[in-house]
Symmetry: C2
Subunit: 141 residues, 2 copies
Amino acid sequence: MRISRKGEYGVAAVLYLASQPSGKLSLSDEIAGSCGIPKNFLAQILARLRRKGILGSVRGKRGGYYLKAEPARLSLADVLEALEGPITLIRSIKEDEGKEADFLNRRVRGFFLRLQTRGYELLKSMTLADVAPAQGTDDRP
Amino acid sequence: MRISRKGEYGVAAVLYLASQPSGKLSLSDEIAGSCGIPKNFLAQILARLRRKGILGSVRGKRGGYYLKAEPARLSLADVLEALEGPITLIRSIKEDEGKEADFLNRRVRGFFLRLQTRGYELLKSMTLADVAPAQGTDDRP
DNA sequence: GCAATCTTGACCGTTTCAGTAAAGTAAGCG
DNA sequence: CGCTTACTTTACTGAAACGGTCAAGATTGC
């Protein structure tokens, strides 16, 4: 029950980008170096974040990555969900349909559902702006 | 990032015991049947919960398990921690000492630490009494 | 002593994790 | 052009964790 490295690295990378001057592009290797993340592994992570619209990228020489989302509107939940898929603190929510013992159904499910809801709210309530002092709010480079 | 089956089953089992009349002993197989948990797997879980003082047991014929802790004082955190070890939502807290990139250290760590703290508070705030309507508050059978 | 129960530890197939490697695509630069 | 710099994508892999199963022991009641 912990966040994967992928999620952890993803948050670090996004936080790094949020701390850069707004027009600047950051190289993948630069992020990897600064955050202590294996380069090739980071490449996968950045690719996903880009596909989900959180990051933008420019290819070729003088290329790099930049933060596309607005830090104040980008939550931990958004980043983790982009990288690890839907956030489900327990399996029972949608995965256990079929042989359901009476008891586990009634009470336990409700209990876990509440945990799920509150956990998600927590992740959703922590935004990137909470950590990085907001470095300007431009758009594209 | 989800609770393991072990944790899930453990919570279900404890909740089941909390719903039983106070003096009664419940058989391992009975719990397994009611909650839909593999018997042998449940045995390991109950054993751990007993060692941690959450459950009590009586051996031999007419034996069984009973809830030792007071539901209102027994939180999700207690049960999960008993089964899965210390609750650490991220690795970075105590596991990554050595090669630390500057950036990840400064901001990211603080951010994750806050998540860790709040997540733990959430788990700690949800007690078993919140789900089971309190079935009497005796002590031992 | 025999049957019912809990107790303990070893074992094991599958999945996920965390990363590596490599081939491919796009863009700037001279 | 063609070379270099970057991002892009996919495949692969060793190790660990997950989710159990199984067998053998230790206790107690009858």
